[in-house]
């Protein structure tokens, strides 16, 4: 087994996804098949291989420190599910 139901519950927590028990069971099976397949690369000898993050080797892409236009606050908040006093509102945190 590459991944257990306990692992699935843990990653679902890290990713903030509520799962039912039957979903945990189903996803665990599916993810296990995928990870069994994907995990095969662990066997490759890559001791002297450098990782590639991007296929195109760009570097030092930086912008000058110049101020540009911001969104009007009503535009920034236009899609907010809940707003008040020109701020986004979230339910109690603790």
């Amino acid at each position: 087994m590459a991944i257990s139901e306990k692992d699935v519950k843990h990653v679902a927590w890290l990713a903030r996804l509520a799962l039912s028990d039957t979903e945990v069971e189903r996803f665990a099976k599916q993810l296990d098949v995928i990870l069994e397949h994907a995990g095969k690369i662990a066997e490759l000898d890559t001791k002297d291989v450098q990782p590639t993050a991007h296929a195109i080797p760009l570097k030092n892409v930086l912008r000058e420190d110049k101020v540009g236009r911001c969104l009007a606050p009503e535009v920034a908040l236009a899609n907010a599910p809940h707003q008040e006093d020109q701020a986004f509102v979230v339910p109690r945190i603790v």
Partner: protein, 484 residues
């Protein structure tokens, strides 16, 4: 021929010569949409009013004698993964059901400035995760060649929309084959440029190091025309490359003399439907007959592509999709007890199963204790795959392969078997991992369903790739259309 059946370059001539107006063209395309959309279901959102307003604008320009570019007045569909200011953009997800962007993606903006008439936003697998468009949060798009079959994915709507003549061309995005695979299954041309050539700014990210926007067109000439206006350095995208913009239409030379073409044997091996292999072998023969030197080559590490891809792409996605949390935009559960409850249920209700699978897969691959074995190792495998391509490109101008291992499969056939679904991108994924350009051109049919030939170019080798694709298209003379 109806106007909606024509290509960009044919329509441009008619617009310039005032044989037709942009309004007539828009009317033609929208009448086609009215006829077939109910059966094909390409569009999530149709922007009819905006389209006619824009067509009017273009007609006024033409009437006033202003010169128009080759894309002006051309009805264009946009995959719903690209932000369009003021026009609902869902990314195929319930979590963005009501999301109205406040800005437009650079790629779409580039085309809007060229005068395209946007017809609407096309259906897709949710967050571009899928190979059949069955993972759309809204409905399933059908393949115009056989309505019981999938159009491919994730850009299924953008492929079917062109195949069904519901737009003259469209934009899609390709992370592991999401343009080339549906183009092949729908019998049209689909192209993924070199990573970094087209700005990703405003493209809702799936896997940032792999995503690339590209066109679906009816022929290679249209592809080159669109590409001319799609590319360009963007200061808002750190991964955007700076090059002098070529005129890709100049690369459209019907001559393959002396061109070397490599055929990676791993992409003609088991797993590829023998009937597809036969069609591809005919295509290779045609290329040879036209003067190309065709030979077998090898990319020994690409057997690991799928593994590397299904670690890297979900890992990046797990982080990219964290922002969909119900705080600033999109869906939020109405009755959350507290913040955690709001996060957990908003995301559980807003995302579909495939998205959840990939988020969890990626989260797992990045989590403590697994990073090195999964993500770290996948990045190294990526290096090995790139090295393979570099070695092959030392000997060959382009590489060719089938675009897909099978023709369009039945709706529902693979939905419960994620791994089987993933295997349908086996020929296209390595190209994304190496950041290379790839194009799929129609090269025949199997049992009445289209087959695509994939031409893979060197990094920024779009011109040679287009030349080979164009030459093939000219000598093959494809003219079949789906019957709707």
């Amino acid at each position: 021929m109806k106007l909606f059946e024509l290509t960009i370059h044919e329509l441009h001539e008619k617009l310039v010569s005032k044989e037709i107006s942009a309004k007539e063209l828009a009317e033609s395309v929208f009448s086609r949409i009215d006829d077939v959309e109910e059966r094909v279901k390409s569009y999530i959102t149709v922007t009819r009013d905006e389209a006619f307003a824009k067509a009017d604008e273009i007609d006024k320009k033409i009437a006033s004698g202003e010169r128009i570019g080759p894309l002006a007045g051309i009805p264009t569909a946009i995959k719903d993964v690209m932000n369009t200011e003021g026009i609902r953009t869902t990314c195929g997800s319930k979590i963005l059901d009501n999301y109205i962007p406040v800005y437009t993606s650079t790629a779409v903006k580039n085309l809007l400035e060229e005068g395209i008439v946007m017809t609407g936003k096309t259906n897709m697998d949710e967050f571009a995760m899928g190979s059949s468009t069955e993972n759309s949060g809204f409905f399933v798009t059908r393949n115009p060649w056989d309505l019981e079959r999938v159009p491919g994915g994730s850009s299924g709507g953008s492929a079917s929309v062109v195949a069904a003549d519901e737009a003259i061309f469209s934009l899609g995005s390709d992370t592991g084959g999401s343009i080339r695979q549906p183009a092949a299954l729908c019998g049209i041309v689909g192209m993924k440029p070199t990573y970094g050539l087209v700005s990703r700014f405003g493209l809702i990210a799936f896997a940032s190091s792999l995503d690339q926007i590209g066109p679906f067109t009816k022929d290679v000439t249209d592809c080159a025309i669109v590409l001319n206006h799609l590319i360009g350095h963007d200061i808002n995208d750190s991964t955007s490359v700076k090059i002098d913009k070529p005129d890709y239409t100049k690369a459209l030379v019907n001559d393959l003399n002396g061109i070397t073409i490599g055929v990676p044997k791993e992409l003609m091996a088991e797993g590829i439907d023998p009937k597809i292999k036969a069609v591809i072998e005919n295509a290779l023969k045609l290329l040879e007959d036209n003067g190309a030197v065709v030979a077998e080559t090898s990319l020994p590490n690409i057997e690991h592509s799928l593994s590397a891809y299904y670690i890297i792409a979900p890992a990046e996605a797990s982080s990219n999709l964290a922002r969909f949390d119900g705080v600033r935009y999109g869906y939020r559960v109405p009755d959350a007890e507290d913040l955690i409850d709001m996060y957990m249920r908003t995301r559980a209700e807003g995302f579909g199963d495939e998205v959840k699978r990939r988020i969890m897969l990626g989260t797992y691959a990045l989590s403590a204790g697994y990073y090195d074995a999964y993500y770290g190792q996948a990045q190294k495998v990526r290096t090995l795959i790139m090295d393979d391509f570099n070695r092959a490109f030392a000997d060959y101008d382009v590489l060719v392969s089938p675009t897909t291992p099978t023709t369009a499969f039945k709706i529902g056939e693979k939905v419960d078997d994620p791994l089987a679904m993933y295997l349908s991108d086996i020929c296209t994924i390595p190209v994304n991992l190496a950041g290379l350009p790839g194009i799929s051109v129609p090269c025949g049919t199997v049992d009445g369903l289209p087959v695509g030939l994939q031409v893979i170019g060197k990094t920024l080798g779009e011109e040679m790739m287009l030349r080979v694709a164009y030459s093939f298209e000219q000598s093959f003379g494809w003219s079949e259309k789906p019957k709707l």
